[in-house]
Symmetry: C2
Subunit: 330 residues, 2 copies
Amino acid sequence: MANTTIYDVAGAAKVSLATVSRVMNNPEKVNPETREKVLRVIKELGYHPNAIARGLASRKSTTVGIVMADVSRAATAALLGGITDIAKKYDYAIKLFTMDPEDDIKEAMRKCVAEQVDGILLLNDELELDDMGMVIDLIQDAQIPLVLCNTIYNEKDVPTVAIDYTKATYDITKKLLAEGKKYIYFAQTVHKYSINQFKAEGYTKAMEEAGLDPLILKSSGDVSSNSVQFREFLEGGNKVEAFISVRDSIAVSFMNQAIELGFKVPEDIKVVGLQNTKYALLSRPTLTCVDTPVYDIGAVSMRLLTKYMTHKDVADNKVFLPYRIVERQS
Amino acid sequence: MANTTIYDVAGAAKVSLATVSRVMNNPEKVNPETREKVLRVIKELGYHPNAIARGLASRKSTTVGIVMADVSRAATAALLGGITDIAKKYDYAIKLFTMDPEDDIKEAMRKCVAEQVDGILLLNDELELDDMGMVIDLIQDAQIPLVLCNTIYNEKDVPTVAIDYTKATYDITKKLLAEGKKYIYFAQTVHKYSINQFKAEGYTKAMEEAGLDPLILKSSGDVSSNSVQFREFLEGGNKVEAFISVRDSIAVSFMNQAIELGFKVPEDIKVVGLQNTKYALLSRPTLTCVDTPVYDIGAVSMRLLTKYMTHKDVADNKVFLPYRIVERQS
DNA sequence: CTGAAAGCGCTTACAG
DNA sequence: CTGAAAGCGCTTACAG
């Protein structure tokens, strides 16, 4: 059954293999009667065209490559949800390429290109700016349509779907400043995701406009290590009036430590997350967030990519989805 | 560059394409000098074999298919982490197939088979028992190696990597019973993941052995709806001494509601999660859990699959990884 | 509307 | 150790 080929179908339907192929790819070019006959045989034999052979002959694999640093992060998983839903709708298969920073990035990308994907979605990078440029060059040299998904790179003109993270973070920082807060801390991760750099920029801009020094903390995404860091930080007598974090889970971890040390949230310290994940709903107090529609970013980027792959006109190669602030208890 | 072919390499190295192919696949069969020459040219031209063509000619795609219900769930993402790490090590590419329950499952699987993967990992199903059997039959008919990853199906003898969830849940229930609890509730999700069914079985068995009626709650994974459900449940005056949930996030949501209604955790109600995710560390009180090593399940299942794909002997086709109970504050 | 034939870029017996 | 040739299962001009 797995090895029913187009020849078997052609034989059983008493037509040539070219006709069978046409029934599948250009049905309108086939006489309705023969078409029906062929379709019947296809169903009877349970025939499904070998995607590999089709890929080789047509030089299209109807497969997109997803290049990313780490699958297991919640934000990545949500992106993938949006991506896979749309990919399925357009009948594209998905190939996953993970890329740790220690890998030879160039080799990894070449491998991805060798897999003959029709398009690439680059997401959630952990790359240095230079490496990022190189990766983009490599893909563009190979003439493969590329969309940056929840990833921002301004040095080149690359199709992008994301949030205007700079503005979003600028807005929320402004808001806190307007409430009279001055000691507003900003927690970054150690890894340099491009989008987090832009969040930091927005924060920094708002602080500087207010004549304040930016107060940036680098912290791990690992709860057991960042909780120690935050406890020491708070016990160290640093004055803190507000805390913004690139990740919700880090914000929640900070909030937990603050509360255990006797601070009141939000009275003493306001806490804000920049994602709006499930963590924000399950923490106590619940977490105020800038909501970033990650699923949508995935879905829209995949849809944009299909347009490039099918050579459709694209009105705008950069899409910045709207975001909103969700006020909760923190 | 993307279109350097084996012919270009052969031409530049002044050998036949067969020799180039051998250099890549059976280097020991090639004279060291010619081998070096060819390798040099390969590097110079930046040649990477077209994976599609190779797949067609060799009838091996060095690709594995991951079939699952939902990418975006945290548990799935963690599994994928383990899977991709090992896949990379063995040089397998990964193709993703998501399958919602509304889809025509048979068609979806046929598509997956048509993609010519060398092996399939079936994970985190949401299938009815019958559909599950059909999917397994389909894959086995197509002679494709299959491993169930964090999924259990006892009706057939299929290679499996998971936890003995029945025993794990039995153990934790026993423990609560030994502490004198009688009104031990068990929260299931609405979707029927096979592993959750086994968790329920373990719980039920322990309760029945103690001469108690099992108290099973079906709840949504969505925080805003399950929190309403739990609040009504608790306000309804139901006596609850302990609460076990298949998912940590559901346990945390229940705990939040209980605390807000004035119950003391763990004094009045003990709460236990059956995953040990980040939620368990970030909740207050922190959540006592049965720890299930999801990353490892992914990694081990992928490794097992490589053995089947390369026709290696497999000592045991079912692997049940150890679990442990992590006592925390709840 | 349909078929015969070339070709996609590789691998793999088969000779030599 | 190396090359010529067939073949993997399709698609796609090209004739008719």
